[in-house]
């Protein structure tokens, strides 16, 4: 019977039209994501080249300023002085490279920065910059593979299941079927099983073909590919089960399609919207405008006490002997070492507020994850692709850690100048020559979660979706135990 049903489903032109639509739209979407990520990778390569050229120039200058000359070079133009270098020449950026299967979903990679320039004096991490993707495109959303899977596929699948599944009912021949020696539950199960047998591999093949057409290394990154396949299969099964449940309840094609659209709306749009409103109700996002106001006030306060702050910092670093150093005679870059630390101390609560909001958002996201299978699916897809907010937060935490590492590297060298005095190590040289160890400057390399962890997370989501599918199937079989001949 299953063989007959499978052949019957496979003969429906609508099934093939839907698969063709998913293949076409998915391929276009995957290629859009691939283009975006290719451009971002090219930007990272360009920035790496520019940084290398920058240090090449610095080395050339250092060699020149290390030779006796009548040239006068102020400290802020001298890359051989530790303080001048720390403020005006140190150039490092942190990059978040894309993972092999990033074309699965653009996620937040169109919005969140993939490369963050670092300066020592920026508060709490890298510069607040972003890549300027067209804001109109950000508002409409990128047409990528995950858009097709989240927005287009469920509605198409719902209609296919509704039309194929309720054909006998809509044609008025269901009583004839009911008169045959077959139980209703068996009939519905076989019908929906046949739909699943055709549609699940069909959608999976479309997704794999779309990824391959976009140049994703689906063979080399096989663990991610397998996990993505499981996710897509579970999501497809979920929508077949939802539509099947409606058919088993005795709904016709129209009622089934309408119910599927309604359920999709609630799960995909209404629940996230409710989550956003709930999040605002329980934890308002910190206002950046208020933060700016506070930043400016505290900057004024700190600048007003700058000499005292620098004096205290020097004593803490060098001991009581440092009390003889006049803070007013230090260059700006050296003073900044101690002032920046004081600014961060006084603004720590802003950072705490931001972290608290982030935690509240994560909690709501977790709740929505359990309530809405489409959100769970999208989250798993973006996490697997490495384009989600979770990975970005890991990146930002590492950027902050790297900034502290840079400070640990540079600050002692800047302050050490104060002990070694202003005299130059080379008589008659314009350079101060207190810092030449450019090769020793730390570099950033993002440490990602192991692939196995990301794959395991995706498999967990797929398993959760499979459980939901099983529950819906059990409910559907229960509903469809008797022939619902009256619609």
């Amino acid at each position: 019977m299953i063989g007959y049903e499978c052949r019957r489903v496979a003969r429906w032109p609508m099934v093939w039209a839907i698969l063709a639509l998913l293949l076409g739209a998915g391929t276009w979407g995957a290629r859009n994501a691939a283009r975006l990520h290719r451009d971002q990778a090219a930007d990272i390569a360009r920035m790496t080249e520019a940084e290398a050229a920058w240090y090449e120039d610095i080395r050339a200058r250092a060699a020149r300023y290390g030779q006796p000359s009548t040239e006068e070079v102020p400290y802020w133009q001298d890359p051989t002085g530790a303080s001048g270098f720390s403020r005006y020449f140190l150039r490092r950026f942190a990059a978040k490279p894309h993972l092999p299967l990033s074309t699965l979903a653009v996620g937040q990679s169109d919005l969140q920065p993939f490369a963050v320039p670092l300066r020592l004096e920026t508060l709490f991490g890298g510069d607040r910059v972003y890549d300027f993707e067209p804001p109109r495109a950000l508002a409409t959303g990128i047409f990528d593979l995950s858009f097709v899977l989240l927005f287009v596929a469920p509605l198409c699948l719902g209609i296919a299941v509704a039309v194929v599944g309720a054909q006998e009912r809509d044609q008025g021949i269901l009583p004839l079927v009911a008169s045959q020696p077959v139980r209703a539950a068996h009939w519905w199960s076989v019908r929906l099983g046949a739909l699943a047998v055709v549609l699940v591999p069909g959608v999976v093949v479309c997704v794999l073909a779309a990824l391959a057409a976009a140049g994703a290394p689906i063979v080399a990154a096989w663990p991610e590919t397998v996990a993505a396949t499981m996710l897509v299969a579970a999501q497809t099964l979920f929508w077949i089960a939802v539509a099947g449940w409606c058919v088993a309840r005795g709904h016709g094609a129209v009622a089934t399609a309408s119910t599927v659209v309604g359920i999709w709306l609630v799960l995909t749009i209404a629940l996230p919207l409710a989550g956003s409103l709930a999040l605002r109700a329980v934890a308002s996002p910190p206002s950046p405008v208020t933060d700016v106001d506070e930043l400016r006030r505290i900057t004024d306060d700190v600048q007003g006490e700058a000499d005292e702050i620098v004096r205290r910092g020097l004593i803490a670093h060098f001991g009581p002997d440092a009390a003889v150093i006049d803070p007013g005679r230090l260059d700006y870059a050296t003073r900044l070492v101690l002032i920046t630390q004081e600014m961060e101390r006084r603004l720590q609560h802003q950072e705490v507020r931001r972290q608290e909001y982030r935690r509240a958002a994560s909690l709501v996201a977790r709740a929505i994850w359990w309530l809405s299978p489409p959100v769970a699916f999208q989250t798993a897809l973006t996490d697997l692709a490495g384009t989600g907010t979770a990975r970005h937060h890991v990146f930002l935490d590492q950027v902050r850690a790297f900034q502290l590492e840079l400070r640990d590297f540079m600050y002692p060298r800047v302050l050490a100048q104060l002990r070694s005095g202003p005299s130059r190590s080379c008589e008659g040289c314009p350079g101060r020559l207190t810092f030449l160890d450019y090769e020793a400057i730390p570099s950033f390399a993002m440490g990602d979660l192991p692939t196995a962890r990301r794959v395991a997370a995706a498999v967990s989501t797929a398993s959760w979706l499979a459980l939901v599918v099983a529950a819906i199937a059990v409910a559907g079989v229960g509903r469809g135990a008797a022939w619902a001949l009256e619609s």
Binding site: D43, R46, A115, R128, I159, I269, V375
Partner: protein, 469 residues
Amino acid sequence: MFARLVRLDIANLLRDRRLAATLTAFSAVFALAGIAAWREVQAAAETKAAVAEAERQRWLSQGERDPHTAAHYSIYAFKPSLALQAVDAGIVPFVGEAVWLEAHLQNDLLFRPQQDATVFERLGLVDPAGLFVRFAPLAVFLLAFAAAAREREPGVLGLALGMAPTRSAYLGAKVASVAGLGVLATVVPIVAIGALSTATNPSGSAEQAGRLAGWAAGAVAYVAIMSTIAVSICALARSVQVACSALVFAWVALVLAALPAASAVAEWSRPLPSFQEMKLVLVDEAPAYWTPESGAEQIATILRQYGAPDVDALAAKQINVRGAQLDLAERRAQAVFDREISGFYDRLADQDRAYARLGWLSPAIAFDVASAALTGTDFTHHRDFIDAAERYRRALVNRLNSDLIPKPAVGGREHTNNADLWSQVPAFEYMPLPLSTGVAPSLAALAALVCWLAGGAALVAHSATHVRP
């Protein structure tokens, strides 16, 4: 007779309790999103106004200092949260809302509200017009299906057609009733929130009210267009199954997928240069700190400019070399910003115009563009703020440099100034683009919307001649 038909259709539709409940749910979602947006916009507008005033006071009371230090201290400018952002957030969640106007640099706007959004926050973006563009057609399609297709199901379509004076009147009444209820359920709640926001927002003005009226007219047109499409589909479909499938496909194709797809086509047809590459050019050509070589070249230029043989002669002419260098570097940087940043934004605006032209392919695209333009939340309006802030920055920095240039350092002490000078720099007051200028780049979309409306009417007329019981 026509009015009676419309009244009858509306009464029949409202008699269906499930349909009435669904429409109420749509209204509630739009109203709830609107109220949340209004509260946020209101709070943001008040905060920005208060902090902008505090910034001004800080600027005036910064005390005595080197004018160039004051140019670095400068101010933060905040993009006003306009009343109609409660109606359509447009690109606002995806662009910055504050900019530090300091010397040497045309900084990016900071603090994009959606920067750290999670998956559910981006899916559930609180944006009434965003929801309206995407889901009002669904409400309309539901109404049309209930009004038109369901008469076919029990086989009473022939009877209904026979009772109407003409088939056109029959379908016209369907369109009017569907559009009327659609407007009531989807447009009215948002316009009410918009009116509330206009009345309570500091930016509220007659112009904002005019913009809201324009938005309401556009929204009514959008609902009417969707009603004509839906009623025509239902009339032409041979069965309710086909009508239902066609309506869902039409919604996905014309609305849900059309917006990102059109955006992708616009990006493909008008690709932008790399923003990061542009940033690297700025670092190379307009550095905040110059090298000894470029410093020497600047001095040579300044000597030529003042007809002085050397730096000592400049001092004799009461020229502050550092001030002149800062001024020269600033003006050169401004030329680079004009070429690179403005050039980038020009291309972005061109891409937006390409997107607006795709309004001919879908009324959702046309209304999406028109809505953001009418509410002042599109890139044209955003750029106007960027340009205004940059003009202010340049005026401020140039004024401070001009104070520094004729006052050379005395005994190694640089010239300083005080509130007398700071108060000569006016406060930053941004006047948003007037409607006539702001909407101009979106005229193609508005024209497309009008044509869609005419096309919809023609489609209904065509359907009337082809409808078969």
